[in-house]
């Protein structure tokens, strides 16, 4: 029973690390946003796994993951809007060229 919980947590850890690697290395801003979504998904998986296999199983974890999904949707919409505004001003969608604060 508890080995199943460990398997779910390990899967979430793998997803989180893949998302982190994508955020750190990808050039395209859209893919960076999607990698952040992957990391949020890993957190959702943790919440849902603990809602079933936690010490006191309850539906609270699923409620939290629903809130999390809504926040992630808002974040993706605002992120894409910022990306389009930046693209209009700079003419590029690569994150390594958005370095105004460093110059």
């Amino acid at each position: 029973m508890s080995t199943m919980l460990a398997s779910f947590l390990t899967l979430a850890a793998i997803l989180f690390c893949i998302g982190l690697y994508g955020v750190l290395t990808k050039r395209s801003a859209v893919i960076v946003l999607l990698s952040i979504e992957l990391m949020l998904n890993a957190v959702n998986l943790n919440l849902v796994a603990f809602s079933k296999y936690g010490v006191v199983p309850s539906l609270k974890g699923q409620v939290f993951s629903l809130f999390n999904i809504a926040i992630a949707a808002a974040e993706a919409a605002v992120g894409v809007a910022i990306l389009i505004a930046l693209y209009r001003n700079r003419g590029t969608a690569n994150v390594d060229e958005y370095d105004d604060l460093r110059r």
């Binding site: 793998i14 893949i18 050039r27 859209v30 849902v48 809602s51 079933k52 296999y53 629903l66 919409a77």
Partner: protein, 211 residues
């Protein structure tokens, strides 16, 4: 310390099949070179995660996952790709040592997490099903105990989407930003032949009509 022994039943087989799907989608995202392919492989990964939620007795979360992630967010990202110009290949011009550093950092984080998960003795939960009717119980919980966060969340979503529209709206097209020489030139060159063609259409040819 580690306990890898696991009874082989239907749940574990389904878990491993779905986990392979999810991780394959995520790793393919890292390896593809075209941006649209990356989005599609991540959508595949999100659908696999929805299957894992079904396995965890979270049917409503699974359907929300399919609707919001595999549907809405993937399409939103594809729109974002279509509205911006991308290189044919997303080639990496990062310094290789930087990429290696990122890989080492991620692997180290995964190692720490893995040892922490495998080394922890989780208490065995009370072996009872979550609820008779999961979605019904979830709805009751959302509208009784968590109703204030729920309404706050709807306000937040409204504010975020209005903000997204305001951000993405091009409200002043006549203002010329000096740093946007590239896009301005392209828009001027795109509109120039059109306006001159319109002028030619409106003005009669100077040579005069033979008749």
């Amino acid at each position: 310390m580690f306990n890898f022994s696991m009874e082989l039943n239907g749940q574990t087989i389904a878990f491993f099949a779905l986990a392979v799907c999810v991780i394959t989608g995520a790793v393919l995202m890292l390896n593809f070179t075209k941006v649209v392919h990356m989005v599609v492989s991540l959508a595949f990964s999100f659908v696999g995660l929805a299957g894992i939620y079904v396995l965890l007795e979270a049917e409503f979360v699974a359907f929300v996952q399919v609707l919001v992630y595999a549907g809405a967010i993937s399409i939103l990202m594809i729109f974002g790709i279509m509205m911006t110009r991308h290189d044919k290949q997303d080639e990496v011009i990062m310094k290789p040592w930087k990429e290696a550093l990122a890989a080492i950092g991620c692997l180290a984080l995964f190692g720490v997490l893995f040892f922490a998960i495998r080394g922890t003795q989780f208490p065995t939960p009370a072996d009872k099903p979550l609820s008779e009717d999961n979605t019904l119980a979830l709805g009751k919980l959302l509208f009784t105990e968590h109703v204030i966060p729920f309404e706050l969340l709807s306000v937040l979503l409204t504010v975020a989407f209005i903000g997204a529209i305001v951000l993405a709206k091009n409200d002043d097209p006549t203002s010329i930003n000096p740093s946007s020489a590239l896009t301005d030139q392209s828009s001027v060159s795109a509109s120039e032949p059109l306006s001159s063609g319109l002028q030619q259409l409106q003005e009669p040819p100077k040579g005069g009509n033979p008749t």
